[in-house]
Amino acid sequence: MEKEEKQLTDFITEDGSIFKTYLTAKVERRKAYKRSDPKRIESIIPGSITELFIQEGSRVRIGTPLLILESMKMENLIKSTVEGTIKNVFVEKGMHISKGTIMIELE
């Protein structure tokens, strides 16, 4: 059995009661939920930008092709899921990006 050296923490349960308890490793590394924002388009996989169809100021509709992100030998066509105007393009053709990079911002 392990030696406990952690501190007791206040822990709120579903009915709002507060208990003194230890946290588990998984709960300790819990991340706050982040709402996805359709106006900030991030890469969900690493890869290279092989085509860029829009530029800053372009008007886009739902389904307008934005760029092609080539990853794992697949060409992934990224389309807009909202209507709007391109505010920022953070990538350029030929660029290699990692996972979670903001590629395009709309307004």
């Binding site: 059995m1 822990f11 349960t13 009915d15 709002g16 996972k99």
Partner: protein, 512 residues
Amino acid sequence: MEKEISKMQERASAIKLGGGEAAIKKQNDLGKLTARQRIDALLDKDSFFEYDLFAKHEVHNFGMDKKNLPSDGVVTGTGTINGKPVCIFSQDFTVMGGSLGLTHARKIAKIMDYALKMKMPCIGINDSGGARIQEGVDAQAGYGEVFYRNAISSGVIPQISVILGPCAGGAAYSPALTDFVFVVENISKMFITGPAVIESVLGEKVSQEELGGARTHAEISGNAHFYALSEKECFEQIKTLLSYIPSSNDAKKEKQESFAPCFKGKIAEIIPNDPKQPYDVREVIKAVTDRSEFFEVHELFAKNIVVGFGRIEGETVGFVANQPLYLAGVLDCDAADKSAKFIRYCDAFNIPIVTLEDTPGCLPGIDQEHAGVIRHGAKLLYAYSEATVPKITIILRKAYGGAYVAMNSRHLGADFVFAWPCAEIAVMGPEGAANIIFGKEIKEAEDQEALRQAKIQEYKEKFANPYVAAEKGYVDAIIEPQETRKTLAYALRLSENKSELRPNKKHGLTPF
């Protein structure tokens, strides 16, 4: 004849050297025993009887015809552990990295078939680089044959996986299909895709240890049930586990001699007076078991629930207990998975289940809901309802909301439900209930806080006790904490011949 015998002995001892002395030294220098040393360390002295020592592969491609692979990289056989017969296979990393080819897999399959037919536990020691690529689809076929036998033997004989080296890709699924997985710090490595693949595909850097080391699987993924710091400690754990569990699902019950608990204090004193303060529920378990012994399963994973084996009057009992020391003992996805698997294990092998309940409900959170806490929680409900072994519940303190129902309540078919006098069986905690029921009144009151406290007190007195449930027969008896062991022993004796029939069906659809 003498000549023939010595010839055979020569051949056998050459094969027994596996990959040779240099490879053995390399393995030992890594802090690892070899396949044969492990078998000797785990089994009773001189009890090992080896099968297929002379097995040979039949591959001709890629220069394999010139390769001599002693025993095809796996040692298989039978033996005893504390006198109990077991089947065992142990992959030999010194022979082509313990890689699995068709002959290797068929040796494993053969010993698994034997274990199933002869109704004895099957122990697999995994230490393999993976599929033997030179054998192509035959290697995949080999894995498939092992998986199939894992599934067919499930619930008939205990299946134990010991990860003492790499166990990557498809190979990792066999342990996942077995009942108990043992890992050792710095030695065990399990993953489906390794760090190199993850880095090249996703650009994410992670070490083998972080990704799929012993601690990761024992604490985070839950793939491992037992964690040890050395192979020696791991083998001791396996021996202890085997002392608790029967050799098959129709083995006759082995009752050992009954011993009084070593705990001599007052059980009630383990529980703090303030219901919001934690305590270690394992102390309650140890206060009622023979010699105060408790063998915990999944000790590091989902610590908010405790599961494991103990004995009461010599009989093995499976304990499931909420743990107020961690997360106040709430139920979450992992706790439900952990306890559901344990309950199903106990049910399959005729081990009575004792549930000690003290839970304020479920873990709230977006991550929990998105992880599917509904379907995970459903596993627990299903496992308790489905189980036909004697099922005894003792409500120690809190039993709120859905968690009250889930923790082997009368409504899910508990045979006995007892409560301590400090039990609070209610639809929710007093704070939450007062806010909902008297919300309007409290809002309109001049001194809101005073009224809230008064209403909380009123609710506590009316509902946060065991008497309402006892009036309705949901609780059979309210017992003094000091009588817990006596009551459990009585209930176990009473249910010795329990038989409960279920409607005939092919199988149920367990939530996944």
